[in-house]
């Protein structure tokens, strides 16, 4: 008998994930680099295009789904987590990606963000943080620093910002990471780790808005200063930074201290308590400390939609598949005539 071989589809390339729509971000926007990285990542995952769905809210970042040649849903401001929860729960087979921004995901949609993280729906969240409202042309956002002068804060913002990583950790997120749009290699590693996490992965991407908040990350994210002013948290590796990786971080009590590299603590992203991750998420609140990037937390927890479908399976096996007759003719019934 002749052996028949199932024809294998040709492996996908980055190009396969580019849609036919013209990309309409401002020239020089950090979104281009992210789009490029995500398209490249998709080609490595071994998931066919039709099994992938990108969901977004409103804002510059939320145009993302239009540029991906996959299924996509550009929704309304802040609500992408709720829509994505519905999609993933209805069809757990899909690989669902949620693209949002600091305003969309943390201001108008902050409530939904909190709840999707605590539920641990198995989908990936990319939060583009540019510390500004871009699409509405330059008002301050919930991550803008105090004192930022914008169109809506002519004398400087008086709002205390919050830190997206601390927020996600507080919500019980099972994967929390940060990367930078201009740090392509790092972004690739982090996106890949997020893609392979089982559960909600929350990735904050520092994304430069060239028009309304240009260079807001330059004092730590630029290539020349990055080594000295960021620390890449790699699970299982010592917490070291600096040009020659000569400096390290040691947590004494609750206080992180800068120490020689040899004395640095080994970073653990899966501690029982999210305490160490929380400490590291606020590291840079001390101006002498580097900005944390990398993987802050990576733990296992029950998956929301799996539990939902498990209950349905259990109900069916206990009571049998529901029929119309059983549905309608239940409770106390009686006959007339």
């Amino acid at each position: 008998m002749a052996e028949t071989q199932t024809p294998q589809p040709a492996p996908l390339t980055k190009k396969d994930f580019k849609s036919d729509q013209e990309v309409r971000w401002c020239p020089g926007c950090g979104d281009y680099a992210i789009l490029n990285s995500v398209q490249a990542l998709m080609a490595t995952l071994g998931i066919p295009r039709h099994q992938i769905c990108f969901v977004s809210g409103i804002g510059c970042s939320s145009r993302f789904p239009y540029y991906m040649n996959t299924y996509g849903f550009h929704s309304i401001h802040g609500r992408a987590p709720a829509i994505a929860t519905g999609i993933k729960t209805a069809n757990p087979e899909l690989s669902v990606w949620l693209v949002t921004g600091d305003g969309d995901g943390l201001s108008i949609g902050g409530n939904h963000m909190a709840h999707i993280l605590r539920r641990n729906v198995d989908l990936k969240i990319l939060l583009f943080n540019n510390e500004i409202y871009g699409l509405t042309k330059g008002q301050y956002s919930p991550t803008s620093p105090i004192g930022l002068k914008t169109k809506s804060t002519p004398m400087g913002s008086v709002d205390r910002p919050f830190d997206p990583l601390s927020f996600a950790l507080g919500c019980g997120a099972t994967f929390v990471a940060r990367t930078i749009d201009s740090h392509l290699k790092h972004m690739e590693q982090i996106l890949s780790a997020a893609a392979h996490h089982k559960g909600t992965a929350f990735v904050e991407i520092y994304q430069n808005c060239v028009i309304f908040n240009d260079a807001c990350f330059e004092n730590f994210a630029e290539k020349g200063v990055r080594d000295e002013h960021t620390i890449d948290l790699k699970p299982g590796h010592p917490m070291v930074f600096g040009k020659g990786l000569d400096k390290g971080i040691k947590i004494e009590g609750w206080e992180p201290k800068i120490v020689p590299a040899a004395q640095a603590d080994t970073w653990k992203s899966d501690t029982h308590s999210p305490g160490p991750a929380f400490v590291m998420s606020t590291l840079h609140h001390d101006p002498a400390m580097p900005r944390p990037i990398g993987i802050l937390r990576d733990v296992k927890a029950p998956i929301f939609e799996e539990a939902v479908h498990e209950q349905i399976r259990a109900a069916r096996s206990k009571r049998g598949e529901g029929t119309l007759k059983e549905l309608i003719y239940s409770g106390e019934t009686w006959s007339v005539g």
């Binding site: 849609s19 729509q21 066919p48 295009r49 039709h50 099994q51 769905c53 969901v55 409103i58 789904p65 239009y66 991906m68 040649n69 996959t70 299924y71 996509g72 849903f73 550009h74 929704s75 309304i76 609500r79 987590p81 709720a82 829509i83 994505a84 929860t85 519905g86 999609i87 729960t89 209805a90 069809n91 087979e93 899909l94 409530n111 939904h112 909190a114 709840h115 939902v308 349905i312 259990a314 109900a315 069916r316 206990k318 009571r319 049998g320 598949e321 529901g322 119309l324 007759k325 549905l327 309608i328 003719y329 239940s330 409770g331 106390e332 019934t333 009686w334 006959s335 007339v336 005539g337």
Partner: protein, 621 residues
């Protein structure tokens, strides 16, 4: 615990055609359970009936106060029953507050059963009463039966392991037993219910059964009543199998039925809100039917998750009440724009704002039809009775899936919590309307916004190879669905979406006129006013008034043929529990007719007598 032989046999047994009983007590007294049990038993022995639970928004308002009074009215009879009745024949008052709040509704000469065990000076004070109404002539027009139920229950349950507090919580079953005796009802159904309810606390089941039996026996022993009554089974109910059903349950069963007929699985996204929470709870119990229920973090997430599930190929449903509707309106606009099926259930309650959470109203009509930004047409349909909620829910699913559109399904607190016997449909009479998904590109290529004969676009499940596409709230180009800001395309799409929704009227019947097709006055109703309108028209016919009625299930778009029907009457009267919203819609659609609004906004349904009086006053003019 056997029933006495020939209970009450020495007392005369009188036949009555119908009776209205109102159970009233503190919100912790279990009056809703009492009323529901009396209803269940009456339904099982074959009476037609209707119920009206009326309770405060507070779970336990301060005990003994007037705001804490909870009531349950049931009307049962051997002839057709359309409403829970205007005035009770019997009032059961468990405390002074319940007595004083309800006594003015009692029919003159009616019976009031009073629990004197709860009439101490401090009880009177809690009810804000300076004098004892049992002694000051307040009850002179009624037949008063005084029983110290507190003491009777304590005596009856002596020797049980229950604490005195637990014993007092059995008072409602004593009352129920007494009413079962008075109206010659069997105790079996409630006995069975107690055994199931308290399966894990058999001592509580036993105590409540003892209390019920004591109440039943008291009728015989204590000679409080001059006679007993019998209300024969209703002979005019059409043959069939029946069950007693509350509106919210019927609606939930209708949604599951609709989904099965459409060959879809349900995803309900909902957030708890009175009086809609029952739909979430009931659907959550249908997991073996494949129903997914998601209690979202808020009203917006509730509808958005349902819309996400609709995109993924499920029947998306969200259920709420007026304040939740307001929060969902932006997402409804998105559903209009991306043209996916979605059923939005609004169990209306009194407003504005938090308003009267447990009371009924029909004031979300204009919000449902018009309450979204920009041009966002959505078909709106309304249930009229508890059992009608079943059929209306199926109709909502049919319209949503046939036309690829969100549909708003209106009910209200009166329907949601009211109950009536439901003649169950034969399964073979439920006609399937299976929805098909597009699974491969048609000839000429896949166009996400191409349209069928209903102007509906194709439904593609993500996961389908070759049909990857993007949807969103930005305006779309005709056919391709790409983002388009072209002026002409926008107007074309606005008109297209409106034409699609208005096209629903091609698939809905012209409503029947109840009564003659010509006359002096046509009462046009929608929603839960149907029972009261039907009763009023029957009474007016008996008075030889040339009055008919017509009830609208489809409130937007309106069915065809109304103009012709309206033209056969001098004037059109529109009673509704709002300030005249449907009248406003009808005047704008049919300006050539004399449309008279009859608003009522008290958080209470119309009484038949009010409608009769209104019609007669109009006809006198």
């Amino acid at each position: 615990m056997s029933q006495p032989k020939n209970p009450g046999s020495e007392l005369p047994l009188q036949q009555q055609e119908e009776v209205v009983i109102r159970f009233a007590g503190d919100s912790g007294d279990g009056m809703q359970i009492t009323g529901n049990q009396f209803t269940l038993t009456s339904a099982i022995i074959g009476n037609d009936l209707a119920t009206f639970p009326d309770f405060p928004a507070e779970i336990r308002a301060p005990a003994g106060t007037r705001p804490g009074v909870s009531g349950f009215q049931v009307r049962f009879g051997s002839a057709d029953i359309h409403t829970p009745g205007d005035q009770p024949d019997v009032l059961v008052a468990m405390n002074p507050a319940a007595l004083i709040v309800n006594i003015n509704d009692l029919k003159p000469g009616g019976v009031v059963v009073v629990n004197t065990g709860q009439f101490s000076d401090s009880d009177l004070k809690k009810a804000n009463l300076a004098k004892n109404p049992l002694k000051d002539g307040t009850l002179a027009a009624y037949r008063v039966i005084e029983i110290d139920i507190n003491k009777r229950v304590t005596d009856a349950l002596k020797g049980t392991p229950l604490s005195s507090k637990e014993i007092q919580r059995c008072k409602n079953f004593y009352t129920l037993g007494l009413m079962y005796w008075l109206y010659s009802r069997p105790l079996e159904a409630t006995t069975k219910w107690l055994d199931e309810k308290f399966a894990k606390r058999p001592e509580l089941a036993q105590a409540n059964k003892l209390a019920m039996q004591a109440g039943y026996n008291a009728g015989d022993i204590h000679e409080m009543f001059q006679g007993r009554f019998e209300v024969a089974p209703c002979e005019t109910l059409p043959p069939g199998t029946y069950r007693n059903i509350m509106g919210n349950d019927a609606l939930a069963i209708g949604l599951v039925t609709g989904a099965k007929l459409a060959n879809l699985q349900i995803f309900l996204g909902s957030y708890p809100i009175t009086p809609a929470s029952g739909i979430l709870e009931t659907l959550a119990s249908y997991k073996n039917h494949g129903v997914i229920t998601f209690q979202a973090e808020d009203e917006i997430a509730a509808i958005c998750s349902a819309l996400g599930a609709a995109y993924a190929g499920h029947l998306g449903i969200t259920s709420t009440s007026g304040p939740g509707m307001a929060l969902k309106s932006e997402a409804m606009g998105l559903a209009v724009s991306i043209e996916l099926p979605l059923v939005i259930v609004d169990i209306q309650r009194g407003g504005p704002s938090t308003g009267l959470p447990t009371k009924t109203e029909q004031a979300d009509l204009l919000q449902a039809i018009f309450g979204r930004n920009s041009e966002a047409p959505i078909p709106v349909i309304a249930a009229s009775m508890p059992s009608d909620a079943f059929e209306t829910a199926i109709e909502a699913v049919r319209i949503a899936t046939t036309y690829m559109t969100p549909v708003i399904l209106l009910s209200d607190g009166y329907i949601a919590n009211g109950a009536e016997p439901w003649r169950l449909p034969k399964i073979e009479d439920l006609k399937p309307f299976p929805k098909s998904f597009m699974t491969s590109a048609p000839e000429g290529g896949f166009l996400p916004y191409a349209r069928d004969q209903h102007l509906a676009r194709p439904w593609v499940k993500p996961g389908t190879p070759g049909l990857e596409h993007r949807v969103g709230g930005l305006e779309k180009a005709h056919l391709t669905g790409h983002i388009s800001y072209e002026p002409e395309n926008h107007e074309f799409m606005v008109r297209m979406r409106n034409n699609k929704v208005m096209g629903v009227r091609e698939s809905i019947p012209t409503p029947n006129v109840f009564g003659d097709s010509t006359g002096d006055l046509l009462i046009v109703g929608w929603g839960s006013t149907r029972g009261a309108i039907t009763s009023a028209v029957e009474k007016l016919h008996a008075k030889r008034r040339r009055v008919s009625s017509l009830h609208l299930r489809h409130v937007w778009p309106l069915p065809k043929g109304l103009d012709k029907i309206f033209g056969c009457f001098q004037s059109i009267l529109v009673p509704e529990m709002n300030m005249g919203q449907m009248a406003r819609v009808l005047r704008s659609e049919y300006p050539q007719h004399n449309i008279i609004s009859y608003p009522k906004v008290q958080g209470l349904p119309f009484r038949t007598t009010e409608l009769v009086a209104k019609v007669e006053s109009l006809l006198e003019k």
